[in-house]
Symmetry: C2
Subunit: 335 residues, 2 copies
Amino acid sequence: MAITLKDVAEKAGVSRSAVSRTFTEGASVSDKTRSKVERAAAELGYSPNALASSLTTGRTKLIGLVSNNFHNPLFLEVFDLFTRGLQDRGLRPLLVNLSEETDPVSSIRMLRQYSVDGVLVASSTLPPSFAEAFKDAGVPVVHSFGRYTSSPHVHVVGIDNVACGRMAAEGLIARGYRKVAFLGGPEKATSTQDRAMGFLSALSEHPEIDVSVSYASAYSFDAGRVEMTKQLMSNHAEAYFCGDDVIAIGALSAANDAGLSVPDDVGLIGLNDMEMASWQNIELTTIRQPISEIIGASIDLVVGTIEEPHRHPETRLFPCRLIERHTLRPLKASA
Amino acid sequence: MAITLKDVAEKAGVSRSAVSRTFTEGASVSDKTRSKVERAAAELGYSPNALASSLTTGRTKLIGLVSNNFHNPLFLEVFDLFTRGLQDRGLRPLLVNLSEETDPVSSIRMLRQYSVDGVLVASSTLPPSFAEAFKDAGVPVVHSFGRYTSSPHVHVVGIDNVACGRMAAEGLIARGYRKVAFLGGPEKATSTQDRAMGFLSALSEHPEIDVSVSYASAYSFDAGRVEMTKQLMSNHAEAYFCGDDVIAIGALSAANDAGLSVPDDVGLIGLNDMEMASWQNIELTTIRQPISEIIGASIDLVVGTIEEPHRHPETRLFPCRLIERHTLRPLKASA
DNA sequence: GATCATTTTGCAACCGGTTGCAATTTTTTT
DNA sequence: AAAAAAATTGCAACCGGTTGCAAAATGATC
C-alpha cells in the first residue's frame, strides 16, 4: 500500500539504515548515497512514517491541546494562535474538548496512549489540580490562562487576575464612580475568584465606596445579560466590572434594553479585549489580556520542559492594561 | 520508563500475545488469563500504546481536521461540535490551521506522516480541488461546508448555497423591498459565488426589482462594515443579503453609525445563524445553516469511507430556513 | 475412558522505522 | 605508498505492539 523505507532502500540500492539516515537531521551519510536515496524517495513519493519513528525516538511531536472553553469567542483567537504557533515549530496539536468533564484521568490516559510529547491546558476555569495530574503522570504540561500560586507545582502562564481586579477597581474609582460592583463569571472558576479578590481588596482601601458582588452562571452573553437584568431590577450600582468581555456585552445589552444609557447611567468594564470588544457597535472599555504573548510563552515553556523534564515549575504572568473605549465615562480631569 | 505489554506479561505470568488479546475487542482469551492480566495491568498502571498498535492494525483513530476559518465566530461552534462528535466515537482530532495557505500538498504530507485514518476539511472558502487532492492521495476525506457539484469527486456535506441565495431573494421580495443587493464574502470563495448565483437567478424572474452586487474582502466584521459604509455613501439599496452573519453584523454597525435605522431605512439578512445573531443587541434576521447536522453527517461519512474506501462520492445537502428577527421589516400581510 | 471438536495459548514473524557497533571505505598524514 | 584517522555503511537488535499458525488444553460425544 503505502511506500516504506524498505521500498526506497531497494530502489536506491542501499541499506534501510542509509535511507533512515538521509531523513535524519545530522546523521552520517555521504553526498552520493544521499542523492541516490533522495531521487528514489521522490520517484516513489515516500515520506517517513512519523509514528513508527516515534517508537524508537520516543518523540511524536504531538502536543495535547486541552480546553473546556468552546463557547467563549476569545478562544477562537486562542486556538488560532496555539495551532499556528505549534505548527511553526513542527508540532501537531491533538485537540481535546473537555466540555463538561473536569476529571483529568480519562484525558491523561488518552493522551498517554498517543504518546504526546507535552500538553497545553488552555482554561481559565479549571483548577490547578487538573494540570498537576498531568505532571504527576510524567507528562510535560503548561497551564495557560491558569492561576498563579506562590509555590506552583506546574508551569502556569497567564495574567495576574488579582492585579486585574485591582486595576478595574482603580479605574472605576478614578472615573468618579461611587457605587461599584463586580459581576463575575462562575463563582467556582479560579479566574473569577482571583479577580473578585483583587477588586475587593483595592476597594477595601476606599471605605467611602459602596461595593457589591454577583456572579453570572457562565462566561457567556446570556449569563451576563440575565445577571445584569436581575441587578437592574433592584438598587443597582453605577458601574460594573464584568469578569469577562462576553459577560460585559451581555450586561450592555441588558442595560440598553432597560432604557439605560451606557456609560452615563451605568458604566461597564470588561476583561480580555477580545476582537469583538472593539467592534463599533460595542466599543467596550476593557482590560486587555495579551493572549498572543501568553500563548507564545506557553509553547516555549512546554517545549523547554520536553527537552528538560525536571525543570523547575515556573509562573509567567503578563501585564494587562486598560483599553479605553466608550462604556466607562472619561477620566476626571484631575484625579 | 513507561509500562509496556512485556512488563504486564511478565507480572501476570503469561505471554505477550495474551496481554495483547485481553486488550483487543473480540480476541480469544479465557476468563482466567483475562483476569490475571487485568489485575497486573491495573497494578502497573498499564495502558496500551495506540501508535505502536497502529503500526500493525493500520488504524490510528486520528482524524485530520483542516480549516482556514479561524476568524469567524461560527467556527468556534463548528470546532466544538467536531471535536465532541469525534471524541464520542473514539476518534482524535489532529487540528491543522491553514491560515493563508491554500495549497494542500504540505498538509497532505504531514497528515500522511501521522497516518490519519481520515480527513475532515471544514471550510466554505476552499475550492473543491483541495479536498480532492486528499482523495487522490488515498486518504478518506469529507469536505464540510463545501460546494455542491453535480458529479462530485469527493464527499461533500453542506447546504445548497444557490438555494440559500434564492431564499434570501424571495424573502426580500416578499417583504416588499424593491431595490436589493448582495453583499457577499470574498469574491473567490466558492460559497460566495453560489450564494450570489442563487440570489441573482431568483431576481432575474423579477425584472421590476433593482439588484446590485458587491463583495466584502473577508468573512469578517470589519470587511462587512467597510463595504457597507462604502455602499451607504452612494445610492444604496433598501435591503442587503449579506453573505455571512458576521458580515451582516458589520454592515449593521455601519448602518447604525450612519444614523440609519434597521430595518426601517435599510434591511439586512445574514446567513448562518451563529450564536451571536440571536443576541438581543443584534437580533439579526438570517438564514439558518444546520451546522450540527452537517457536522454529524460529515463524521458519519468519513467513518463510512474509512471502512469502505471505494465508496462512491456523495453529496449531502441540508435545508436551510429563514429565521425571522428584527433586521428585516415584517412580511406584508398578503404576499 | 477414548475420540473428536473447540477454545486457548505461545512462538515467531512482522508493522516501519532507529541506532550501536563493527566492518569497510575514504581522506589525511607522514 | 603505507599507516593512521575519519567518515560511511550494513548488520542486527530493538521500539511496543499484533497476528497466523501449530501445539496444548479444555470440553463434548459416545
